[in-house]
């Protein structure tokens, strides 16, 4: 378990870095060179993405994210930047409090809370900060 960052009563632990990609298999193979092991593909119709999770020991994971269709939020990022880091996901023990804390500090909540297919239905939320980019919050397992 990583040591969390603590802000007030909220604890933020890096869970994974999401990488936007155009070819899940090719990217998983490339990360395999670095020693990452990949899980099976998960389709998330809510987020309009296909996802493969990569793990290497106890390090925070990597989430390969491929858009489904042109209206996926990831499509614009890929066309603008090509494959690369898309967001960092932080695991939090109290999702609602963490969202409130970030919104009070200039973060914009860009998605409603929803269950994530790739994380056992745990709730996630995306927020945006001008100086950090996109951030995902994932509620801790109960």
């Amino acid at each position: 378990m990583e040591t969390p960052c603590i802000s007030g009563s909220a604890r933020f632990t890096i869970h994974h870095t999401a990488i936007a990609v155009t070819d899940l298999a090719a990217s998983a193979q490339a990360y395999g060179i670095l020693g990452f092991q990949s899980s099976g593909k998960v389709v998330d119709p809510v987020q309009k993405v296909e996802v493969v999770l990569l793990r290497c020991g106890n390090e925070p994971g990597i989430e390969l994210v491929k858009p489904i269709g042109e209206d996926s939020p990831v499509s614009g990022f890929l066309s603008r930047n090509g494959p690369g880091p898309y967001h960092i996901c932080y695991e939090v023990d109290d999702l609602d409090s963490a969202i409130t804390l970030l919104r009070r500090n200039g973060f914009v909540q860009v998605s409603d809370l929803c269950p994530a297919q790739a994380f056992d239905g745990r709730r996630i939320c995306f927020l945006f900060n001008r100086d950090m980019g996109l951030v995902e919050l994932l509620e801790m397992k109960t």
Partner: protein, 84 residues
């Protein structure tokens, strides 16, 4: 706040973010008609609007802010809810 003041403030933010002259922003401007107004710039626009007007917008509102008119309408509703 008067509609015209809200619209002018939003136009000033858009002109700065989109790097266009404020005179080139018609009242009818929409996201689909301006290449610079992509998904990332939309989020930056929302950040600036929240900061300027001291409001906190919900994800559904952010998704509906696809034109200057929609931005101003949603903002006015927020401002009136705050100061009825």
């Amino acid at each position: 706040m008067e509609d015209s003041i809200v619209r002018e403030k939003v136009k000033r933010i858009m002109a700065r973010l989109f790097k266009i002259d404020i005179a080139d922003i018609p009242d009818e401007m929409a996201q689909e008609n301006l290449k610079q107004w992509d998904s990332l710039m939309h989020l930056n626009l929302v950040v600036e609007i929240e900061r300027e007007f001291k409001v906190s917008l919900e994800p559904g509102q952010i998704g509906r802010m696809t034109s200057l008119q929609a931005v101003c309408r949603i903002l006015q509703n927020e401002l009136q809810d705050r100061n009825p």
